[in-house]
């Protein structure tokens, strides 16, 4: 990555192609390679140079694939599902990792089993499915609401903007964890799926606020640029300007923030599940697994360690990836 600083960039707040051009200057020796380089390819190239980000990307991909394919694969190979409880009394107890029912080394349960004899690895992978699902889906929801809300507020300006952002401020000032907990316990659902849906609604309704602010800020600085005036002068309608011209220009910061939102939401989900408000058994998430594990930490540490470490690793990786994306998409924002 280049550490060269081009003074003319300082006046630019948004990510523009100017940056790509400046990068092109820095990498003048790669001139041939740069022909026809789009902004995104340029950012991708910079991302690949960031080792931590690549590490994060790889871990995220591996964890995602393992979570999606893992439980089914285990069922295929060993014949049990994540919520399979053996009906043999001797087996319904917690075995350490790599230990069979006879106390000898075995590949059957690489992460051991829990109190009911369920395979911890299968449960961690299934928990990963749900944790990632909650994280990503809630982020998508917050993206949809936050981007449209912020874009409309920013472009409309004036009184509309004022009103819309004050509403955001009000939401902000509410202690959202308490709100979510109240929401979840008030509408406590009888089925695990219902509880999961409720969790989405609760998390989605609070997580779009920051996104709305970020997008509004971006739009405010973009809407006075000449290309917006040029678009208006060609008769393009307001909504088209916002969603076809302005929003794509905010994508850089939005992607970065979204990547950083995923771990935040996963953490929130884990926290809620840990407290018993989130995902309910027999479904599992990393948070609920950790909650189960923590009661037995002195005797069966693997029940906490495996879900805990997997979650920490994934969150780390997502954060690294998000930081890497920010640097790649917006080199001038880097604070070195």
């Amino acid at each position: 990555m280049s550490t060269e600083k081009n003074p003319q960039h300082d006046e630019l707040i948004h990510i523009g192609p100017e940056m790509a051009v400046a990068e092109a200057d820095v990498h003048a020796d790669e001139g041939a390679f740069l022909r026809g380089t789009s902004l995104w390819r340029d950012a991708w190239r910079r991302l690949l140079k960031n080792k931590l980000a690549v590490f994060g990307l790889v871990v995220v991909i591996v964890v995602t694939i393992a979570s999606i394919a893992g439980p089914a694969l285990i069922q295929q190979t060993f014949g049990f599902t994540p919520d399979y409880i053996p009906n043999n009394d001797k087996l319904t107890r917690s075995f350490p990792p790599f230990t069979g029912p006879d106390g000898k080394f075995s590949w059957l349960h690489p992460m051991g089993t829990d109190n009911a004899g369920r395979d911890v690895m299968a449960r961690v992978l299934q928990g990963g499915q749900i944790s990632l699902f909650v994280g990503i889906l809630s982020t998508v929801i917050s993206l949809l609401i936050g981007v449209s809300y912020g874009a409309i507020a920013g472009y409309a300006g004036g009184r509309v903007d004022n009103l819309m952002m004050r509403i955001v401020d009000v939401f902000y000032s509410l202690p959202y964890i308490i709100i979510v907990i109240v929401l979840l316990s008030l509408f406590r659902s009888q089925t695990p799926r219902g509880q999961l849906t409720l969790l989405f609604i609760a998390i989605g309704s609070v997580s779009w606020l920051t996104m709305a602010r970020i997008v509004r800020g971006q739009i405010l600085s973009l809407k006075n640029q000449e290309f917006v005036l040029a678009a208006r002068a060609t008769g393009v309608s307001g909504s088209r300007i916002v969603f076809r011209h302005l929003v794509p220009n905010t994508l850089g910061p939005v992607i970065v923030y979204a990547t950083l939102t995923v771990p935040q939401i996963m953490l929130l989900e884990a926290f809620l599940s840990f407290l018993g408000f989130g995902v309910q058994a027999p479904l599992s998430s990393w948070g609920s697994l950790a909650a189960d594990g923590v009661t037995n930490i002195a005797v069966f540490p693997w029940q906490l360690i495996f879900p805990g470490v997997t979650m920490a690793l994934t969150l780390f990786s997502l954060n690294f990836l998000g930081d890497g994306l920010r640097d790649a998409l917006d080199p001038q924002m880097r604070t070195v």
Binding site: A230, A233, T234
Partner: protein, 334 residues
């Protein structure tokens, strides 16, 4: 010939914390079909606001078109609904902006931006619009248009981007093209190319052009009529040849004297003394009085009259006839 555009008593004011700025104050002018009108003046004289007012793109708030009429093809643009004016923008009145570096959307492919115009106004299908975009790029002299259509603006140089802007502006064959300092941000050789291009396209399509500039050389080479603006007012208005040979306003004379003379061996470059007035606190009398060589007491007291000096030649000055005579003209008697 009929008037394509007839601007009558246009006033556009800006509400600022400092007070009301009369950016455009009671301006009237006409533009005939197929003609080119130049508008010159210093920065802040109201050139751009005049033209933004024509297509109703003055930022509101703080700007507001207070009064006036903009008759385009017989209908008053200022009375149209937002929907209707949008159909005119780009389709019948197109604009080119000063800075080609920022007037293209950095995140949209060139072809997409060109296609948007014709899809919007001419109802083109994607394929039609794409073909049209390529044709327009070829028309404005972008080499290798086919392969460059998929590029992003940052892959184009300033001159090429201005060509794209011109292609975009002309792609619906508008009746009026407003070029707001189209060459200011470009270097001199590219300037000449772009101006030549506008001239050529104007000849071919018969489009009328309003050319805003502060470069008198550009005005001389491109326009049929000129309007000289100062402090939101029209100070002088004449046929281009007449304005250059026999200016009838001290301000115009000052501007003409400020043009560098390449044949002069040495010597100081003339400049009009002082600064443009603070538009929020205009003094009574002539706004140019403080900087004028011809200033008399009356100039500070009374607002000057708009004097007819010749057919199509008007000047806003108490001493317009004297200045005109001094330049070698013979004022008509009213």
């Amino acid at each position: 010939m009929t008037n394509l555009l007839d601007v009558k008593n246009l006033r556009t004011y800006f509400e600022t914390d400092d007070g009301v700025v009369k950016a455009v104050d009671d301006i009237s002018f006409q533009l005939k079909r197929g003609e080119t009108l130049g508008i010159v003046g210093e920065s802040g004289s109201g050139k751009s606001v005049t033209n933004l007012s024509i297509i109703r793109l003055v930022p509101d708030p703080p700007g507001k078109i207070v009064s006036g009429e903009v008759i385009f093809n017989g209908s008053d643009l200022l009375l149209l609904s937002n929907e209707a004016i949008r159909k005119i923008r780009g389709r019948r009145i197109a604009m080119i902006f000063q800075d080609p570096m920022t007037s293209l959307n950095p995140y949209m492919k060139i072809s997409k931006q060109l296609m948007e115009m014709t899809q919007l106004h001419l109802g083109h299908s994607k394929a039609q619009a794409h073909d049209h975009a390529i044709r327009m790029m070829e028309t404005v002299g972008i080499p290798d248009a086919h392969s460059r259509a998929g590029s992003y603006p940052h892959e184009f140089s300033g001159g090429m981007r201005q060509r794209v802007m011109i292609a975009m502006a002309l792609s619906c064959e508008p009746e009026l093209l407003i070029a707001d300092e189209p060459t200011t941000a470009l270097d001199v050789t590219i300037q000449a190319q772009i101006l030549e291009l506008i001239k050529k396209l104007k000849r071919e399509t018969g489009t009328s052009v309003i050319l805003i500039t502060h470069d008198l050389g550009v005005v001389a080479g491109m326009t049929d009529h000129v309007i000289v603006m100062y402090a939101g007012k029209i100070f002088e208005q004449a046929r281009t040849t007449e304005l250059f040979s026999t200016p009838g306003n001290p301000y115009t004379k000052g501007l003409l004297r400020s043009v560098p003379d390449p044949t002069a061996e040495q010597g100081k470059l003339y400049q009009i003394p002082g600064l443009p007035p603070d538009m929020a606190h205009l003094q009574p009398g002539c706004p140019f009085a403080a900087r004028c060589d011809y200033v008399q007491d009356i100039c500070r007291r009374e607002f000057p009259p708009f004097v007819k000096l010749n057919s199509d030649h008007y000047s806003l000055c108490h001493f317009a006839r004297e200045v005109y005579r001094e330049s070698g003209g013979t004022p008509v008697q009213e």
